[in-house]
C-alpha cells in the first residue's frame, strides 16, 4: 500500500474538507477538529454524480462523523463511506496518514 503526500496538515482549516488528486482519483479529505485526525473518502456524490463531497458540512449523528453532501444533504460516513439515508449506496474510503505535519493518502 503506497501513500502519497498531498498537502500539509495546516492546509486544511479545522472543521472543513479539501479535495486532492491521487492516482487519478478525486479524494475528499476532512479534518473535523483542530488536531491530527484526517479522513478520506471519494469526492463524488453518487446521487448527483458530481465531485462535490469535499465541500460538504462535517456533521455528527449516532455518535459518528459524516459529511453532508452540499447538493441534497445525504450523509456519508467519514470512516466507511456508507450513506446514512440509503445503506445500499456508499463511496470509497481511503486510509490516511498524518506525520510531521504532512497528510498522505493511499488511493
Amino acid at each position: 500500500m503506497s501513500f502519497e503526500t498531498v498537502c500539509k496538515l495546516h492546509d486544511i482549516t479545522p472543521g472543513t474538507g479539501i479535495c486532492a488528486l491521487v492516482n487519478g482519483a478525486q479524494v475528499a479529505l476532512f479534518r473535523p477538529r483542530d488536531d491530527e485526525q484526517v479522513f478520506a473518502i471519494n469526492n463524488m456524490d453518487p446521487f448527483a454524480q458530481s465531485n462535490v463531497l469535499s465541500r460538504g458540512l462535517i456533521v455528527e449523528h449516532q455518535g459518528q462523523l459524516w459529511v453532508a453532501s452540499p447538493l441534497k444533504k445525504q450523509r456519508f460516513n467519514l470512516t466507511s463511506g456508507e450513506c446514512l439515508e440509503n445503506p445500499t449506496v456508499s463511496v470509497a474510503s481511503y486510509p490516511v496518514k498524518v506525520s510531521a505535519g504532512k497528510v498522505a493518502v493511499s488511493a
Binding site: C7, I18, L21, N51, R55
Partner: protein, 852 residues
C-alpha cells in the same frame, strides 16, 4: 334523473358562504346552480370595507377564491338583478329578460341602508356606507372637501368616521342617542369611547336630531340643522343610521314578511314557501333580523343542511362583537347594558390608560350574562367562551378583568374546560372538537391548523385561544412540544440567539461548549453561523466561521447540480448602467458562462468553476459591481416598478426607495432569505404584497406590508402601517428586520413566522409601532451597527491570500474537475447529463435513463 335546479339570489358574504358550504357538503355534479349578483363584482368582505381606502383594490376584499365558481360549475350572473318570482311556475325573471327555472330558491338579498326622512338628505353631498361603489363616491367627494359628518354613532358609523379621518377631512359624528354605540355599550363605556375618539380629533355630537340639510353654508357646502336649533356646516354627509332587510322581492312575491320587516323564516331557514329559503340580513327569525355576519353564516349552513337532508337548526345568535374603531378596542358580550332583572355588575375603570371593563353576572353570581370592554379587549375571548358555554364563574369574577398588577392572579380559563362543541372561531364556525381532531391528525403547528381548518383566518380574534387549544391538545396527546434546534442543542433558535447575543459568543466551539453537546450537524452549524453573522456581522469565511457555512455561503455562490457556481452581482432595485452591463457581458463571454435574467430583477451567470470565481469577481468588482448575496440567507433584493420618475401613473419614486432599502439592509444575515418589493402606485407592478417586505406608494406616503411570500405557498403580506413618511418607514423596517432576526425559527420565512406569531400582525404592530416590548431602541441600534459594518464579501475575499487558496479544485494540482462537461443548447450551454458524459455506460441503479 335530472339535476336539481338551485337558484341563489344575492352574492354577498352570506350568499357566498352558502355556496362554499354547499361545495363542501354536496356533490355539485348533481346540482345546477345559478347565482344572481346584482353588484358588478362577486362577494367581498363588507366587514373590512373601510380597508378599501388603504388598499384601493377591490380584489383585496374579495371573498371568492380565484376560479371557485368556474371550478364547481356554478353560474354567476354578474350585474344582473332578479326582478320577479313566479312561485307557481317556479321561475325567476331577471333584469335582462332572462327566465330561470328553479326547484329550490335561496334568497340572500341582504339589507339596505336606512336613511331617516330628513329634508335635503338626497342631495349630491349625501352618501351611505355599504358597497365599494359607495366608498368610491365618498372618496371622490372627500378630495374636494375639508369636512364631513357621519350621521349615526353606532358600530358602522364609527367605522365610517374612521374612514373619513383617514381621508384627511375634519370629521364629525352625529348621534341621536345620548351615547355612542348604545346597542353594544353601557353609558360609562360609551362615554370613555367618546373621550378617546375626541382625543383623536373626531368631533362627537350626541343627542342631536338632524332635521334638515341645506345645500349652502358660509364655510362649507352644506349646513345641518338640528332639532335643538344648533347648526353644523360640513362639506358632505355620510348616513349610517341602520339597516333594513332587503325584502322587496319577497313582498312582491307575497312571501310572509315579519312585523318589523324581513322574510319570516323557521328554524330551518325556510320561508312561508317550502321551496324558498331566506338567509342572512334579509331574513327574520323569531321576529328579529341580524345585522352581523356570524348569524348569517350560521343560517347559510342550516339552509344547506336542510337541502341535503342533514339535521341542523338556527337557534338564534350571539350578538357579541369585538372590534377596533378609530384605533380604540371595543368588545361587547351578551347583555351589555345589564337589563336582566337583578343582575349584578363588576366594574374596572382606569382613566389614565383609558380602559373600562364591566362584567354583568347573574343574581347568584355563578354565570356571566354580559360584558363591556373598552380600551383593552384582551379578556374578550375568555369571557365570550364563559358566556357561550355557560361555564361557572370563578369565586371572584372580578379577577377576570383586573390587570396583572392588581395582584390577583387571573383564573386560567384553560382550554380543557371548554366542551368540544365550543365555537372557537366564529368567523368560520370552527369548534374546539374540530381543532382537536386536526391535532390528532398530526397537525401540530398554528400554521397547519389555520391551513386545514380555516380557524383564525377571518378576523383573527380567536388566535390566542386556538393556541391554547392546540397546546392543551398536544399536551393531552403526550406530544412534547419540542422546539430544540437539533440533538446538539436543547434550545430553540430564539433562545440560542439571546444566549449568543448576551454572552457575546463569537465561535461555534464556544457556543457548543457552553450550551450544547457533541460535534454539531448540518442543522445547528449553519443556524449558529447565521446567528453570529446577524449579531456580529463578521465575514462568513473567517477561520472560526468557515466550517459552519452551508453549501452556498461556503464559496459565496450558489452551487449548481454539477458542482459549478452561479455569479450574481447586486443590481439594487433592478438598476444597471449600460456600461456595467457591457462588462458583465464581456466576463460571461470570457469565462463561457450561461447567462439568464433571474426572478429577482438581476442577471445570473452560471457554470463558473470554483477556481475561476475569484478572477471573475475581481473583474466585476473593478467595474463597480459588488456581491449580490444571492447565495446567502439574507436580503436578496428589492424589486421595484418604474415609479413616478418615469411612469405616468406612479405617485412616488419606487426605484429610489427600493435602491435605498436594498443598500441599507444588504448583507445582513437573516433566518432565511428575504425579498423586498416597492411599488410606485396602487397598480402594484412590483408585486410587493408577495414579498417579505412590501412597500406600496400612496398619495400620502408609503403603505408597509409584511410577511408576503411567493414560492411554494403564496401569501399576501399583511398591512402593518399606512401612509408612512420615509423616516418612519425606515424605523419600522429596522425594527421589523431585527425582530424577525431575533425571534424566527431556523430557516423560517417571514410568512410562516407571522402565521405562527401569537396575535399575528396585530401583535407585530403593537411591538413595532407601539413599542409594546420596550425594545425598539435596541432593535434600531442593532441594525445600525450591522449597516455600518457592511462590506462586500467578495471584495474582502479576493484581497485575502489565505482565502484564495480555498478556491482551487485540488489542493495538490492545477487540474480542473474533468467531470464538469457542457453541451450546447439554444446558443448557450448546459451541464451534460450522465448518459451524455458516459455514452457507453449502461447506467447504475441511480442513473438509468429509460428508453421511451
Amino acid at each position: 334523473m335530472s339535476k336539481l335546479k338551485l337558484v341563489v339570489i344575492g352574492n354577498g358574504m352570506v350568499g357566498h358562504r352558502y355556496l362554499e358550504d354547499l361545495v363542501d357538503k354536496a356533490d355539485l355534479s348533481q346540482l345546477d346552480v345559478t347565482v344572481f349578483c346584482e353588484e358588478p363584482r362577486v362577494a367581498y368582505d363588507r366587514v373590512h370595507l373601510s380597508s378599501y381606502f388603504s388598499h384601493h383594490t377591490a380584489e383585496e376584499l374579495s371573498l371568492v377564491k380565484h376560479g371557485f365558481y368556474e371550478k364547481h360549475g356554478i353560474e354567476v350572473l354578474l350585474g344582473e338583478r332578479a326582478i320577479n318570482i313566479n312561485r307557481e311556475q317556479k321561475v325567476v325573471y331577471s333584469s335582462t329578460g332572462r327566465e330561470i327555472n328553479y326547484d329550490k330558491l335561496v334568497m340572500a338579498t341582504g339589507s339596505y341602508p336606512w336613511v331617516p326622512p330628513i329634508k335635503g338628505s338626497e342631495n349630491k353631498d349625501c352618501f351611505v356606507y355599504r358597497t365599494i361603489e359607495d366608498l368610491k363616491a365618498i372618496e371622490g367627494s372627500a378630495k374636494k372637501s375639508k369636512s364631513g359628518a357621519v350621521v349615526g354613532g353606532g358600530l358602522l358609523g364609527l367605522e365610517a368616521a374612521g374612514a373619513l379621518k383617514a381621508l384627511g377631512v375634519e370629521t364629525h359624528v352625529i348621534e341621536f342617542a345620548p351615547v355612542l354605540m348604545a346597542e353594544q355599550l353601557d353609558q360609562q363605556g360609551g362615554l370613555l369611547l367618546r373621550n378617546k375618539i375626541e382625543r383623536m380629533g373626531v368631533q362627537v355630537h350626541t343627542s342631536k336630531n338632524t332635521l334638515e340639510i341645506q345645500a349652502q353654508g358660509e364655510h362649507a357646502r352644506n349646513t345641518m340643522q338640528f332639532a335643538d336649533e344648533s347648526k353644523l356646516e360640513v362639506d358632505f354627509i355620510v348616513f349610517s343610521t341602520g339597516i333594513r332587510p332587503q325584502d322587496k322581492l319577497a313582498r312582491q312575491s307575497e312571501l310572509t314578511i315579519a312585523p318589523r320587516g324581513g322574510i319570516a323564516i323557521n328554524d330551518q331557514c325556510l320561508s312561508s314557501d317550502e321551496d324558498i329559503y331566506a338567509i342572512g340580513e334579509c331574513a327574520s327569525w323569531n321576529e328579529s333580523f341580524f345585522g352581523l355576519v356570524a348569524p348569517g353564516y350560521k343560517m347559510a349552513q342550516v339552509a344547506v343542511d336542510h337541502l341535503l337532508g342533514n339535521n341542523n337548526a338556527f337557534e338564534g345568535a350571539d350578538m357579541s362583537a369585538k372590534l377596533k374603531l378609530l384605533g380604540v378596542k371595543v368588545g361587547s358580550i351578551g347583555d351589555a347594558n345589564g337589563r336582566t332583572p337583578n343582575c349584578k355588575s363588576f366594574v374596572y375603570q382606569n382613566d389614565e390608560e383609558g380602559v373600562y371593563k364591566r362584567l354583568i353576572v347573574s343574581e347568584d353570581g355563578k354565570k356571566l350574562l354580559g360584558a363591556v370592554l373598552v380600551g383593552d379587549t384582551a379578556d374578550y375571548g375568555n369571557l365570550l367562551q364563559l358566556k357561550l358555554n355557560d361555564i361557572d364563574l370563578p369565586e371572584h369574577p372580578d379577577t377576570l378583568i383586573l390587570p396583572a398588577h392588581a395582584g390577583a392572579e387571573k383564573p386560567a380559563m384553560g382550554a380543557d374546560s371548554l366542551p368540544d362543541s365550543a365555537v372557537i372561531c366564529s368567523c368560520f364556525d370552527v369548534t374546539k372538537g374540530k381543532i382537536a381532531a386536526a391535532v390528532a391528525d398530526g397537525q401540530t403547528t398554528m400554521a397547519e391548523i389555520k391551513a386545514s381548518t380555516n380557524a383564525g383566518t377571518g378576523c383573527g380574534g380567536c388566535l390566542p385561544l386556538i393556541g391554547q387549544v392546540l397546546n392543551a391538545e398536544l399536551a393531552k396527546a403526550g406530544v412534547e412540544v419540542n422546539n430544540h434546534l437539533c440533538e446538539h442543542f436543547e434550545y430553540s433558535r430564539q433562545e440560542l440567539f439571546h444566549l449568543i447575543r448576551i454572552e457575546g459568543l463569537k465561535s461555534f466551539d464556544q457556543v457548543l461548549t457552553k450550551h450544547g453537546k457533541g460535534y454539531g450537524c448540518e442543522v445547528c452549524k449553519p443556524a449558529v453561523g447565521s446567528i453570529m453573522a446577524s449579531c456580529w456581522g463578521d465575514h462568513v469565511l473567517a477561520p472560526q466561521l468557515v466550517s459552519l457555512q452551508d453549501t452556498n455561503d461556503n464559496f459565496l455562490g450558489n452551487m449548481q447540480k454539477d458542482g459549478t457556481y452561479s455569479v450574481i452581482p447586486r443590481m439594487p432595485g433592478g438598476e444597471v448602467t449600460p456600461k456595467a452591463l457591457g462588462v458583465l457581458a464581456e466576463v460571461a463571454e470570457e469565462y463561457k458562462l450561461y447567462t439568464k435574467v433571474t426572478g429577482a430583477q438581476r442577471i445570473g451567470l452560471f457554470g463558473a468553476q470554483k477556481d475561476d470565481l475569484p478572477t471573475i469577481w475581481r473583474k466585476l468588482i473593478e467595474a463597480g459591481y459588488e456581491t449580490g448575496q444571492a447565495y446567502g440567507k439574507a436580503l436578496r433584493m428589492a424589486k421595484t416598478c418604474v415609479g413616478s420618475t418615469w411612469c405616468r401613473f406612479g405617485v412616488q419614486d419606487s426605484v429610489g426607495l427600493g435602491v435605498m432599502l436594498e443598500n441599507r439592509y444588504k448583507g445582513i444575515r437573516t433566518p432565511h432569505k428575504m425579498k423586498f418589493g416597492v411599488s410606485g402606485c396602487t397598480r402594484e407592478c412590483a408585486e410587493a404584497q408577495g414579498k417579505d417586505l412590501g412597500i406600496i406608494a400612496t398619495d400620502a406616503g408609503w403603505n408597509m406590508y409584511v410577511g408576503g411570500n411567493g414560492g411554494m405557498k403564496p401569501r399576501h403580506g399583511d398591512l402593518l402601517a399606512a401612509d408612512l413618511d420615509q423616516a418612519t418607514l425606515l424605523k419600522y423596517v429596522d425594527r421589523f428586520m431585527m425582530f424577525y432576526i431575533r425571534t424566527a425559527d431556523k430557516l423560517q420565512r417571514t410568512s410562516v413566522w407571522l402565521e405562527n406569531l401569537e396575535g399575528g400582525v396585530d401583535y407585530l404592530r403593537e411591538v413595532i409601532v407601539n413599542d409594546k416590548l420596550g425594545i425598539n431602541q435596541q432593535l434600531e441600534a442593532d441594525v445600525t451597527k450591522l449597516i455600518e459594518n457592511f462590506s462586500c464579501e467578495w471584495t474582502d475575499t479576493i484581497n485575502d491570500e489565505v482565502q484564495l487558496k480555498r478556491f482551487a479544485h485540488f489542493i495538490n494540482s492545477d487540474q480542473r474537475d474533468n467531470n464538469v462537461v457542457f453541451v450546447d443548447e439554444r446558443e448557450q450551454h448546459r451541464p451534460a447529463t450522465f448518459s451524455e458524459k458516459n455514452p457507453g455506460a449502461k447506467g447504475d441503479i441511480l442513473h438509468v435513463e429509460l428508453e421511451a
